[in-house]
Symmetry: C2
Subunit: 337 residues, 2 copies
């Protein structure tokens, strides 16, 4: 065996593998949260796929099968929301061992179904197959008017950067499940909020009609964005990379659940918000005059957290302290292999 | 644990599990080869998903990774063809172990790509994830004019049953790969044809334009059908079940590769044709006056193999022998778990 053919997946990692596989894909189709297909002159079809594997994305310790189902669907619907698309349906490709209980699979589908119903959509097909471990491949389809597509690549210097909600809550919920003892200072309600955020995340499809309303008089929506499923820092970095711009983020403006300081240090809370992932909020870049009414309409913890810059660096700054700025680290995000 | 929650997948089998999961799916969407979604008044979107697992659907002994890729795509495009739909693209959800070689995955994508190019379509997205074994979930999308959808449920008594090509060739190819010694009486060309049919099956998308031409003057196409990926007998049975009809098949009219008698007994050859599966031909039910020109235009081994009957039984008859008819056995098809 020569060197090339003995190269392993773990040698090059997920990004390296994706790079190697990109030439096999239709140019321009891969690189956003979902693929956009033209079916007719008026609407674009949006498609996204996620694979969840037992022991990698979920474990019996922190997630019931119903929660696994909810989260799997939520992740896909979040990708649709990140493209500006309304869901049409999903398909489910399930690989499961023969000695799994039927009730486990039923609970999984109950969780998927519960999440889908919340967004007036459903399962439209699928396939089930025997395998050693559990693997769930979901493909979701949505549609969007071509003038309303949200892409990663259209951010412009001067744009305000909006986070549609809290970050760090999902990671805090996971920590509470793994180490219940850290939650002694939290009320049951506070604990349950964080855990619920981790187990039953809500894709932000509700943000779309508000965007459409705010851009109502415009012929096309100029808005860049993606979801923060892989972390807030990752989302900002991906948008900056795709748009060939940089960003300046004010660390004091990042919306963090007010209960987090009762759980951990301020520095750690910020780390969870930046790198924890799975908050499934949207990170949007748009002109300030549109961002302000958006944040007002969204309410809760929606916030303008920074500005897109011409300079390619992504800076995390603290305007309350002189000379306090750091370059955002992006290597802390979740990596397969 | 009570009895219900300890019930295993293998206890109820694939069909039992599917039945249990159907209530979670949008009514009327599941049950055909693919889901049809209305995106606009003129075109319907068609979606199909297949999961392939290492050790279940393929093995290194008989299939190279490139062939695995080709076959995975071919199976999905065949499902589109079976609905009367033209392909728009596919997504790929890949679960693979970290110690797999990169070249294995590249070969897989090369095979997928080669098949997709043959039908002027491509990969539009996907996801890759670490797991213990290899699992490939493909979702394919196509479009069809609503008046040209091919369903399983529209067969009517009196319809001619058409097989668009040979059956049993794929199974013969597999046997040749597993037991090369049985091919002593075959020329290299004959062997390579059978093996190629197994490794690189051709989805019959080419049949669709011929159907459209034959039905040209009609306002809508009345044609029932599905593909024979799970065997010819299974396809006939599924159509009969969905249409609440029966069928009478003439065993002498089933197109079997002429080389098969050199490999095995006549009875075994018929078994391979009926139950072997993976021939990826179409089984179509339509009025005789349309079936005749269809079979003529298709040529090769396309044939009218029987008739749809009012009586619900599916009979395999031999008109050359008195009293020779048997009820088609359907339990020989491939079953997971």
């Amino acid at each position: 065996m020569n060197n090339k053919s003995s190269l392993l997946i773990r040698d090059i990692g997920e990004q390296g593998l994706l790079k190697k596989l990109q030439p096999f894909c239709i140019p321009g189709m891969v690189g956003d949260d979902a693929a956009v297909l033209e079916t007719d002159p008026h609407r674009s079809l949006v498609i996204t796929t996620d694979v969840l594997v037992d022991g990698v994305h979920f474990s019996d310790r922190t997630t019931t099968p119903a929660d696994v189902g909810w989260r799997a669907v939520a992740a896909n619907l979040s990708d649709l929301a990140a493209m500006g698309a309304s869901p049409l349906g999903i398909t489910v490709g399930l690989s499961i061992p023969g000695n799994l209980t039927v009730s486990w699979v039923e609970s999984l589908y109950q969780g998927m179904s519960a999440c889908l119903q919340q967004y007036q959509t459903g399962i439209v097909g699928g396939d089930i197959c025997r395998s050693e471990g559990i693997s769930i491949a979901i493909t979701a389809f949505g549609q969007v008017f071509p003038t309303q597509i949200i892409k990663r690549s259209s951010a412009q210097p001067g744009d305000a950067i909006v986070a549609t909600g809290c970050h760090g809550a999902s990671r805090a919920g996971l920590e509470l499940l793994l180490h219940p003892e850290i939650g002694q200072q939290l009320s049951d309600r506070e604990k349950s909020y964080l855990i619920q955020t981790h187990q039953r995340p809500k894709p932000r499809l509700d943000v779309l009609p508000i965007i459409w309303e705010i851009f109502n008089s415009d012929s096309a929506i100029r808005i860049a964005g993606m979801d923060s499923s892989d972390g807030l820092a990752d989302a900002i970095a991906q948008i900056c990379h795709a748009s060939s711009v940089g960003a300046k983020i004010d660390r004091n403006l990042i919306p963090i659940p007010p209960t987090l300081p009762k759980l951990t240090s301020a520095e750690q809370a910020l780390n969870w918000a930046l790198y924890g992932g799975e908050d499934f909020e949207l990170v949007l870049c748009l002109p300030l005059e549109k961002a302000q009414p958006l944040v007002e309409r969204l309410g809760n913890y929606a916030a303008i957290i920074g500005t897109i810059t011409k300079d390619l660096e992504i800076l995390l700054v603290d305007p309350t302290q002189v000379d306090h700025q750091q370059v955002l680290l992006l290597s802390k995000g979740f990596q397969h292999f």
